[in-house]
Subunit: 298 residues, 2 copies
């Protein structure tokens, strides 16, 4: 059966809105609410029905107003707000990165399905999606081959990343002076400097900035294949660093400084300087990844 994670997440969202006083007086119409939450009216209605049933919302003569205060355990647990497909992704990444899965291992859909508690279909869909990351390969009628999260992988990944980023940074710097992206870049620089001041406690915030920064650079001259590739990078890094917390603060601080140098270079419009900053930053990111891969092999 299809999960009702959309409903549960929406319910939690509505509960938070109630708690934070975003819904005072008469509640907005189903359609307005629907748009705010980003789901269909069918699902909002289900949410409203339940809110009323639990007396979080009172309903009289076609008018809905906030009811009793929202309680901590009115919320559905987080796990129930994530669709199966996402769970599969998480479990697979865990299996791949944390388990002792060696390069050359073959992947068995049925076994994973049993292990993760889902139907084989879900596993297969995930693997198809995941195959574009270059870590697994399908052999028809037979199964999948795990090629390994190896040094080679990291090298190939970064070779492409370097090409793409040099290209995008160059094009970014050639934008007209009045492009709004320059303003965005300036804002981003400020965010970097701010974070640097509070790096001791807020170092986790770096990954958000990192994403914003690299996406901004691509915005100047969009290319869907480069965007796609950047998604691969983010995905890999997301899971990889979730698993490898070592030196996180130190690493992020270093990257933050590199970004600032890189932004300054962009603002200078000086090609050579840009290329240098870009190379330096990526080389350092690559070195970090490689270091932890080697650790992984031991």
């Amino acid at each position: 059966m299809r999960t009702d994670t959309v409903y549960k997440r929406a319910f939690n969202r509505a509960a938070s809105m109630l708690r934070d006083g975003q819904l005072v007086g008469e509640l907005p119409s189903e359609n307005q609410l629907r748009r705010r939450i980003g789901i269909s009216r069918t699902t909002v209605r289900k949410v409203l029905l339940e809110l009323v049933r639990r007396k979080l919302v009172a309903y009289h003569n076609g008018i809905r107003v906030a009811g009793r205060a929202v309680d901590e355990n009115d919320y559905y647990p987080d796990a129930e707000t994530t669709p199966r497909a996402k769970h599969v992704e998480q479990q697979f990444m865990e299996w791949m990165l944390r388990g002792d899965t060696k390069p050359g291992t073959s992947i068995n859909e049925l076994e994973l399905a049993r292990q993760f508690g889902v139907a084989t279909n879900g596993i297969r869909e995930f693997l198809i999606r995941f195959s574009r990351f270059g870590l697994i390969e399908k052999r028809p009628n037979t199964g999948w081959l795990f090629k390994g999260f190896t040094e080679d992988f990291a090298l190939e990944l970064f070779e492409i990343r370097m090409m793409f980023e040099l290209r995008s940074a160059h094009l970014f710097s050639q934008q007209p002076e009045n492009s709004p992206l320059w303003t965005k870049l300036a804002a981003l620089k400020i965010a970097h400097v701010d974070l640097l001041k509070r790096i001791e406690s807020r170092f986790h915030d770096f990954s958000g900035l990192d994403n914003r920064f690299h996406r901004l650079i691509n915005e100047a001259s969009p290319n869907r294949f480069i965007d796609d590739f950047y998604e691969i990078i983010s995905f890999i890094f997301h899971y990889h660093y979730q698993w490898n917390k070592q030196d996180e603060k130190q690493r992020n601080k270093a990257a933050l400084l590199e970004h600032i140098t890189y932004i300054d270079a962009l603002e200078s419009r000086n090609s050579a300087r840009i290329a240098k900053a870009c190379r330096a930053h990526l080389a350092s990111a690559r070195a970090t990844l490689m270091r932890s891969l080697i650790a992984l092999e031991e």
Copy 2:
């Protein structure tokens, strides 16, 4: 039910082997045959059983020898030797390229499933696989968006292709003198010259050479992401040209000449000359694709 296309294709293959006299005297063991055809023993046994049943093979005391002559209608029809997934691919490409599918159209899994006569599962798997081509996009819980086989697409595709190919050609030219790839390149050049002589009748053979050539260039310094990208290119071109036969001979002849210039450039080891030939060839390929895209929009 799973199709038995593997069996049927294997049967046809075995029938051809019998007909061409590749199986004289006592037939090879199940295992040997299996390896030659590239399937499991289970399936070879099924093939052998049927061959015997149809008297194409005679079986006495554990010994199998060729039986009556193979007839044209012993073969299973081609359509039955292609797995469903492949059919879906073909039908989808037809639908996309030949139909009047406009950019922005949304794709409905159920409708396609009905139209193509398969279960929704198959459609969905295909779409997931196909999404890496950058032509469609998934919107969760809602369906897929067809972004259009547009000029933008072609431009973005070729921008990446140019970067990759310049990089690979450069690295190719830097290989040591004794690399076996130089020999392969020389052989490929001869094949090009030969084809050029018979271009009037054999112009269809170009696409095979094209593939060999571009793969060879990548071989010097492999990168899985570049290989993957090349698969996108081949796929797109395969279907696109299958649909657009206009000027095919002329186009292929021109490309053949460009390849020869390109090969000469590589053999000269002269970077500037290589880059020039590479650019010229890709620019021409892009122009051809763009021309037919514009025709498509009318």
